[in-house]
């Protein structure tokens, strides 16, 4: 009888291992956020959900501020923004900013020199995304990124841009924004399509 007990226990243990094994997924860092003017609430992929207000930052180059997200350093948080510039000469440009202790914006050096993004012409009814690559204006650890509008979209005045991944403060963050050519009608101060994660 003891033998049967041992066998059953081992069998259950083996099945348990299998079940536990199936739940192991590679963890990804990232946050899901809904932006508001005051701040945002979000649920971290790893553990906790919370809401915390933070400054919107102020533009340094006369562009429009879009929140990117934040990274944690112990109990400290660093918030990141993108300053979106109008489309000039078929180029889309943004600067990466953060807030200093006084709450003023300053440029952030980004390790990556190229950032992948997807551009969707808002002038057209149906969504069709084109891949673009933002390159750092500086050779290393730049804060300003520029991409050339794809040739097929040269006539488009307004575009939606999604940046699926930018690494800041050890976190992978995603954000989206809309931008327009300089001579296009002004974009509203806040568009529903601009969010960060």
């Amino acid at each position: 009888m003891k033998c049967i007990n041992v066998v059953i226990a081992l069998y259950l243990f083996a099945v348990g291992l299998l079940v536990a094994g199936c739940e192991q997924a590679t963890s990804t860092v990232g946050v899901a956020g809904v932006e508001s003017l005051e701040g945002h609430s979000h649920k971290h992929g790893s553990a906790h959900a919370h809401a915390h207000p933070h400054a919107q930052g102020s533009p340094l180059h006369g562009g429009r501020i879009v929140a990117i997200g934040h990274s944690h350093h112990g109990s400290e948080e660093t918030h990141y923004h993108a300053e979106i510039m109008p489309i000039v000469d078929g180029k889309i440009m943004f600067h990466v900013l953060t807030d200093n202790k006084a709450g003023q914006s300053q440029l952030v050096r980004v390790a990556a020199t190229m950032i992948e993004a997807y551009v969707d012409p808002l002038d057209k009814e149906t969504a069709r995304a084109y891949e673009v690559v933002f390159s750092s204006e500086e050779h290393d650890r730049g804060a300003t990124f520029v991409a050339t509008v794809p040739e097929v979209l040269q006539d488009c005045q307004r575009m939606s841009v999604v940046v699926p991944k930018i690494e800041l403060g050890g976190q992978r963050l995603s954000f989206s924004f809309t931008t327009a050519a300089e001579d296009a009608p002004a974009l509203p101060k806040k568009t529903t399509g601009e969010t960060s994660t």
Binding site: V6, A14, G21, Y118, A129, V162, G193
Partner: protein
Amino acid sequence: MNEFLLLGDAGSPGYEGIFTDLNTTFWSAVLRISQAMVAAAPFLVAGVFAAGILRGMVGAERTRRILGVGHWSGPLRAWGLGIMLPICSLGALPVARELRRAGVPSGTVISFVLVAPVLNPVSIIYGLSHIPPIMLLYFAAGTFLVSVGIGVLWNRVVARQHDTPPERLESAPLDSRHRLAVVGHTSATALVGPALVDYGLALLAVGLLGAFLPHGALQTGLTRDNAFAPIVMGVVAIPVYVTPTEVMMHFGNIVRDGYSLGAAFALIVLGAGANVGVANWLRRDYGAKSLALFVSLLIGSTLVIGLTADRTIIHGAAKETDHTHAFDPFTRLSTVYDRNANLNWIYAEVQKSMTPDRVWGLGLLCLVATAGIGLRLAGKHCRIDHLLDPAERATCSTTSPRWDPTLSPLQLSIAGIFCVLAAAWVGLYVFYPPTDDLIQDMNNIRGSVYDAVREEDATETSRRIAQWRAHLSKLSISVQIRFGRVVDPQRASVAEVLYSLQTLEEYVLRGQFREAKALTRYVEKSYRTCCDLFH
């Protein structure tokens, strides 16, 4: 009435030529029967060997003790025995015959026959890789209620009146060679005995379904909001033969695609658990009246549990306009062209579904069947009845030769541990399928994710992404256990796809579908890179 139209949609192409296109009718039937035979082979072999072991090694007395003969808990114990044997509904028949030979009440045998093909080590491990564990648990509980409930009722109503005690209670031989002889003889003759008629009837039913159930009849309508879905599936599932692994695959597809859980349950219990062969066995031994009681109890309880599942578990995003190909293997083919109407084509089609377990199973089945025919022809020259005589056992010497030592409990335990570890290792391979299979599944899910994003359906997108994620998380482990090593770029690519899916889901949940549609290109790019690295 629309709910029934899935079986009567006479305007659909599947119904064209159903009585006039004899080529399609005949060769569809032949193909379905051949496919069922090949799929059943490994489980049928397991069944006949289990029957042989019960008779030659466990013995009638111990079998009766294990299954609590004379005690109310018999069906409960039969359920426990059933979930330990990897057999199908055809493989359960020879085991059932041995249980009856040992004098186990027929209700207890019915409990075993209903549960063993549905819940067994192979199907449970296979199911865990296709179905959320909680869903599997729910249906395991449902199967328990149906099989044990019917067993208890049958023991009270039918078995007491109709069961006849065995003329002579056999006793397993003490000598190892005699034991092996009994195991071999019982296994071989089980395939060509009275059960052969039951197997033939079960396969004939599969063929008739393959010949006359119109192609595409089950592609639509089996949705959760269709109250008749479990009934329709129940009608189709009774003549269907499904192996334990296939039923879990179908169950997984139904759950994944959001179709009726009631229909899934009907397929499990009535398709995998019972078949025409089981019904014929009950008719032969207990008469038409008892068979009618069994069928009504089985269908009634299955439909009650199935309908309850559809009404209680919030699940199922499939709409009436959706369609699935999950049940196409039960139906007639759309067309068999003249050039294909021959055995060569059948062979080529069956060859496509050949896996190593089926090749081995089929080989062993042929071997055992040939031995069985030889033993039947030899008749009384090769009888083993005298070895099972209790008087023979009393005169047998208990000393063992050197090459066949008696094992101590500790040695038996160690052997048991090794067996369990080996079974767990096999289970691991089943639970983490080969990368090609995983990628094939993910390709299908990927299409559904993109469709859901295009249709701006956040709930469906999240559900599909969860499935994609579950498959993706198995990729690295699958490579690890097969090749011993996963390189960093492979791990990084999996992490990248997981991140891209998480990002896509976040945009979808916020209702930013325009951005989400753009992001599908990012997901696709990450996924392609990952597939290239794992291929």
